[in-house]
Amino acid sequence: MAEEEVKLFGTWASPFSRRIEVALKLKGVQYEYIEENLTNKSPALLNYNPVHKQIPVLVHNGKPVAESFVIMEYVDETWKHNPILPTDPYEKAMARFWAKYIDDKLWPAAKKVVMTKGEEQKGVIDEIQQQMKNLEGELKEKKFFGGESLGFLDIAANIIIWLVVAQEALGMDPILNEEKLPVLHGWLQRLLDDAVFKECVPPKQRHLDFSKVKFGSSIASK
């Protein structure tokens, strides 16, 4: 291919820009990473994503794409080797369905659980447990949601790590424990062991410290 220019605007602590890093690395795409300061957004970011003014934004040969799932599908369609989405339309639909479920249901619940306490928190914990059980139903006995190797849904499910770290930072009992959710727990260990994926999570201690600061003064912290 001719001179390719790929830029990714993200932040080190955002699961959404980390998703794009995984996708690009799985495909061996060379890219320039630009770390944004969200309290002082660059003119470039505001120019490339005027609608949402958010990261991640992928800029390919000067043309910007925003919204993490939209970017992931664009990456998969542009660099066709090592596909992230299944080829079968029905399997593709299942991956998209569960990815949407993760962003629409699991992520809001995860944000809520670290900001609530008492009965309300307990309700959210039960909700998340059920959501994770539903995800286990989709994973079944596979190594990853994508099968033998990481796929779209595994990448989308990276937000689970952010929940795990936040709970650990606050000294909460982890919702994702081996006893109650053995299938998903096993999947997470495999995900964190994966050579490509593990390069695309925030460094653990830094992430814990960040979460402590972010949620430490919230209702949920002890």
């Binding site: 609608v51 390919h60 043309k63 794409v65 925003a66 919204e67 799932f69 939209v70 970017i71 599908e73 664009y74 369609e77 542009t78 339309p89 029905y90 593709k92 639909a93 299942m94 998209r96 369905f97 949407k100 479920y101 539903n134």
Partner: protein, 229 residues
């Protein structure tokens, strides 16, 4: 081919209507199963246990839920009359705008309809800001899909019918023809397009339904100062 296509829908769901349009635009034979959402069938609950909602497409016995997911599945399975563009960048733009229509436009216009007082004022301001982006995106095209109806048109299509119903009920303008001339004429063109125009739910029934929803919302917001979800 021995193809079996069923669509679980309701008479009024704008989300299910997207799928009706997609199937009919592509000339796909299907069986419509009308659900009473106050009394969901065992089959609906079996096919969509996670959300228990319509639309659900069942193709040769295999169910798919969530209208965006269904639309992409239909486009990939039946390749005639494509809904999404071919070029990956154009596809990304279509998906971006579809998500914007759902997350921002739909949400703000719904709030402008269902809320009162200050919340309604704020929702109307947000809706206008969002509509400005769409007006700009139209860029003089007839439809968001270009010369013919595409994915984004189907996603936003509810606007062409529901907005005038909302405006009639609350007595306020949401899509002002002067402020949004391109969007306004898109609404007319889309509403009257072949297939689209044949599938709108009965207007009088819709007015009754949404008036009732608004009455219930007003009643519950005035009877309690803090609501629990």
């Amino acid at each position: 081919m021995g193809e079996e296509v069923k669509l679980f829908r309701s008479w009024s769901s704008p989300f299910a209507l997207r799928i009706v349009w997609a199937l009919e635009i592509k000339g796909i034979e299907y069986e419509a199963v009308f659900e009473d959402l106050s009394n969901k069938s065992p089959l609906l609950l079996q096919y969509n246990p996670v959300h228990k909602k319509v639309p659900i497409l069942v193709h040769n016995g295999r169910p798919i839920a969530e209208s965006f997911v269904i639309l992409e599945y239909i486009d990939e399975t039946w390749k005639q009359v494509p809904l999404l563009p071919k070029d990956p960048y154009e596809r990304a733009m279509a998906r971006f705008w579809a998500k914007f229509c759902e997350d921002k436009v739909l949400t703000s216009i719904w709030s402008a309809f269902i809320k009162q007082g200050k919340e309604q004022e704020e929702a109307l301001v947000a809706a206008a800001e969002n509509l400005k982006f769409l007006e700009k995106e139209m860029k003089g095209k007839k439809f968001f899909g270009g010369e013919r109806i595409g994915y984004v048109d189907l996603v936003l299509g509810w606007l062409a019918n529901l907005v005038s119903i909302f405006e009639e009920i609350i007595g306020l303008k949401i899509v002002d023809e002067e402020k949004f001339p391109l969007l306004y004429s898109w609404m007319q063109d889309f509403a009257e397009a072949p297939i689209i125009r044949d599938n709108w739910p009965p207007r009088d029934k819709m007015i009754v339904k949404f008036q009732a929803l608004l009455d219930a919302a007003i009643a519950s917001s005035s009877s309690s100062s803090s609501s629990s979800k």
